[in-house]
Amino acid sequence: MTDRKPGVYICKGCGIGEAVDTGALEALASGDLKVPVGKQHDFLCGAEGVATIEKDVADGLVNQPIIAACSQRVMTDQFNFDGAQTVRANLREWVAWAMPAGEEDTQMAAADQVRMGVAQASKMDVPEARVEEGLNTRILVVGGGSTGLNAALEAAATGHDVLLIEKTGKLGGWGAQWSKRMPHRPPYRDPQDNNVSSLIEAVQGNSAITVMTDTTVAETDGMPGRFNVKLANGSGEKQETVGAIVVATGWRPYDATKLGHLGYGASPDVVTGVELEGMLANGGVKRKSDGAVPRTVAFALCAGSRDPEHLPYCSSVCCGSSIKQALQIVEADPEAMVYIIFQELRTPGTAEEFYRQAQEAGVIFMKGKVKSVGADLTVTVDDELLGQEIPMTGLDMVVLATGRVPKATDPDKPAAEGGEEQLANDINPVAPIARAGEAEIATPAWSEAVPEGGPILNLQYRQGPHLPMLADGFADSHFICFPYETRRTGIYTCGPVRRPMDMAESAEDAAGAVLKAVQAIRSAQGGMSLHPRVGDLSFPKFGLDICTKCRRCTVECPFGAIDENEEGFPELNATRCRRCGTCMGACPVRTISFDNYNVQMVSEMISAVEIPDEFSEKYRILILACENDAAPALDMAGINRHSLNAEIRLIPVRCLGSVNMLWISDAFQRGYDGAMLMGCRSGDDYQCHFVKGSGIAEERMANVGQTLQSLMLEEGRVRSVEVSIADSAKVGKMIDEFVEEIRGYGMNPFKGF
């Protein structure tokens, strides 16, 4: 910003006026801080207060209103002025509501809030969007099963051209080979017609959709708005540009040959659910052995699922699909004896109706584990309800409801080199859950089986070729409230590759993924960030003149947004970037910056705080708080009028990943007595929406120890803590304890230097 015109506006309302001397703050602003405009108001967010600021802005007196009032999380509309860049200094939640009124320390905290606000403004610029050239609005859908077909149709219906690729020679996937589907409409009782053929027709008849069968992705490069995809089919490779990618590669059945104990292979009349489905779709169920129509059929559920030796998860759909098949058998022959042997019958939601329908039709449900299936089709069941082991004889056919394996990798491709670390970055599925009185329970090792096969998209990213996936091999989001929160911006998975799901849910999921793809394309066009910092126009700028090519930024970027060019310098794929600032935090030479968030800005804020001399007995503790969890928790501490120590100085940061360790050494050199980083949960079960910000910060802190030692300071003066958004009642105490510890060390001897 060439011509900064800061103005400090101090609110006296909500108890601020009673807690601190706002007159003194005004005097500070116009005096020491030399801010040309400084005003106070009884009710700044009221119409009159807002009008005052509006007028100053309109008159050209102010273009950086520094609102010394409430938290940046409230009154955002009121304090948003066209043509001006607002800075918020939180006097309310973090000072007036949390510190004792009228005391010197409270006044000092308030004064420092104003100082930090003014310092922040001095290093902030209004970001200008970076819009890439050659953007494309076409959506690539990978996978031509029912999920992919739905995705293609949804994207086309939203006005996008679609490129739909399918690895096999035919569209339709599993669904095309099946007879009927599970009910998804009321009354939820009867198998419904399979709609896959009509989906195929609709896709083939849609001029916006280009279908390529026998095609896979050889390589993916580029970024949202301009992905360069190399497609391979039998005849060769072809380069295409697309704006976003929807991955709907689906699933494959668990390999039944691994289920020898369930008789697979021992008798031709032990078949998988998928094989049975094929029979149902092609003229009816017949025994492979003699072609006879079976009259007594047992379904063994969880064949391979919920079994640590095979698939640890529940494949979700097998209960429903087995019920469907059982109903079809009974419908064809009402006298047939059909048994469903389950451990837990899982027909969630309205599928319970389907279960009842099968009971009504006479299908027999037995609870128990199938212990073995013999070559003569004797099924031995540990019948839990009768309390005895039952050999079931006289069966004509045994159906194994085999589970579903996600196709987040392509088993027909060779495994790629590298990229293992992007797999299974998830909650350890066998990790013990914390219990009172047990400090730390040893976590059993979890063999993180990297799924066989090669990468689906073969991403040419610094972070590896795979789609990130979770512990069980599903390419799903890590977050409950954001199922489409991808770690590869612009690429969205849907259907059974994301989570075991049936056709109806997959269709819905396809629509959800397409919506996100549409947003990705639109955001790329506007140079805006995607979730969670939606709309942010800032982006990292690299001062290549002093870059040492250390590669930390390219390695640490959680989204793989930064490549290294041929000379080894970082090169930003701007639309992959989610603006967390992890690169900025990583940079040892402080040369990565955002227009409105940069190393200098925070340094100035740290330096702006007045450090009382060593005789004052007044400590100063720097707290850098994640703005998504810790800062709101601190706000809520104030809202609940929990007290906060008046010796802390708080600076919200985008993510702990953006914290540059030089800020910490700056702080100690300036005379702070301690520094605390507040971030969200790290580790496998991370909470960070920038994937690993707090984890990275912790790693970096290890090195700060050395810096402190070189300054002859105790390592304990710096701490990184996990603070969740629900810690409003705890966070004040965490601070108090830390301050107490610091007092134990005594003051930082560097004060006054």
Binding site: R306, T350, F474, R522, V534
Partner: protein
């Protein structure tokens, strides 16, 4: 009409729970104008009242915070609280929706300073804590409320307390004459995300919910465990505030029952597993017994089930308890049959949690009769004959967990932008 295109491209979202909030934001982030209506005083719906989510055990407020930040940035998204829909007319591309806003008695001047609450001694049942505690008659919906604005309880209106409340406000934010307002919205598509209500535990007659404070519902358990709840997050016996040693969870309390909710509510098994964790995190010696018919930890949630089940102090009893009686010491006693052992049990507990199911809120409230079908439970399904302009989302469309609700809402946002056509 055929070639005229939509008259309005505005998308209206009814319901400000996680599904409605998601649908509104996702649609608005594609550039369309969106209006979000919420019946209550703050956004977030049922999830705002949850302590943590399964299986990550993370806090719902975290995701809500991100969503609220997104809303703050979206100038094309307008949020109206205290608002419900009284009527829908028209067709895709041109709906006229009558909106009725009930009085909050607090206007936009409110800074959430809290002087009004301090001024009154009158208390009302806390709706946020499902009646487990009282709140002042002028109250902030909760610490994470969006919008951050107070409410005056209607029961205070017309009493001297209301005058005290009004007098305490320096910002002229208390409007005791507030009569609410009715207005009409012209929009091209409507997303119906009215969510759910907990099934009324009083209807489970043999469980005698009313006879003991130590029989709570699962939604109340969430409040008991929440730092912002009636006990500051300490799980204790509501009757006497004492620690709990033996806790029972009763699954399918109302669900999978032709006398109550015939469907499976999907979330309750996982919810109770999570509640077991809440208890075990707080008490070294506590025992938790989960009474169930089928433990429905679908898909990857199976791992959560196994992780909780690894705790030797969490037991699973395959049984639908028949009844609860109260013993001489006032403790609830579960009576029933263990279906695996055939034993008849009479087991006393310090705390019993009824895993009550989800009842679609739409089964009680207004539902537009155009382009919308209700199944026999009250869940909404898109009409086969409909034009696709009214789109159900979240639990209004079926019993879903949070992740599936968000998935459903995101899909609904796409359907809505398709319905109103390319941005003009």
């Amino acid at each position: 009409m055929a070639n005229q295109g939509p008259k309005s491209q505005t998308i209206l979202v009814v319901g400000g729970g996680i599904a409605g909030v998601t649908a509104a934001i996702e649609a608005a982030e594609t550039g369309y104008d969106v209006i979000l209506l919420e019946r209550g005083p703050a956004l977030g719906g049922r999830v705002a009242q949850l302590n943590r989510y399964f299986p990550k055990l993370c806090h719902p407020t975290c995701g809500l915070e991100i969503n609220f930040q997104r809303i703050r940035k979206l100038k094309n998204l307008r949020v109206v609280t205290m608002a419900s829909v009284a009527g829908v007319k028209g067709e895709k591309g041109d709906y006229t929706v009558s909106v009725s806003v009930s009085p909050r008695y607090v206007n936009a001047n409110c800074t959430a300073c809290g002087a009004c609450a301090e001024a009154t001694d009158m208390e009302v049942d806390s709706p946020f804590n499902y009646g487990l505690s009282k709140t002042k008659a002028a109250y902030l919906p909760h610490e994470h409320a969006f919008p951050m604005r107070y409410v005056v309880a209607p029961s205070a209106i017309g009493t001297p307390e209301a005058d005290k409340i009004k007098a305490a406000c320096k910002y002229d934010a208390v409007d005791l004459e507030d009569k609410g307002e009715d207005f009409e919205v012209n929009c091209g598509a409507v997303i119906w995300a009215t969510g759910w209500e907990p099934y009324d535990p009083e209807k489970l007659e043999s469980y005698n919910y009313n006879l003991s404070a130590d029989i709570v519902s699962n939604v109340q358990m969430e409040r008991l465990a929440n730092h912002d709840g009636p006990t500051g997050g300490k799980i204790v016996r509501p009757s006497n505030g004492e620690p709990v040693k033996k806790v029972a969870m009763i699954q399918c309390a109302g669900s999978r029952d032709l006398n109550h909710l015939p469907y499976c509510s999907r979330i309750c098994c996982l919810g109770s597993l999570k509640h077991a964790v809440y208890v075990r995190e707080q008490y070294e010696d506590a025992q938790v017994d989960i009474y169930y018919i089928d433990l429905r930890a679908h898909d990857k949630l199976e791992a959560f089930y196994q992780r909780v089940a690894a705790d030797p102090q969490v037991n699973f009893v395959k049984s639908k308890p028949a009844s609860i009686r109260i013993d001489e010491e006032g403790r609830p006693v579960l009576c029933g049959e263990n279906t695996i052992t055939r034993e008849l049990y009479e087991a006393p507990y310090d705390l019993v949690v009824l895993a009550t199911g989800m009842k679609p809120a739409a089964s009680e409230g207004y539902v537009p009769d155009i382009a919308m079908e209700q199944d026999e439970y009250g869940f909404l399904v898109p009409s086969v004959e409909g034009d696709g302009g009214i789109i159900p989302a979240g639990v209004a469309s079926g019993p879903l967990d949070v992740s599936m609700s968000v998935q459903s809402a995101t899909a609904a946002a796409l359907k809505a932008i398709q319905a109103v056509g390319p941005k003009s």
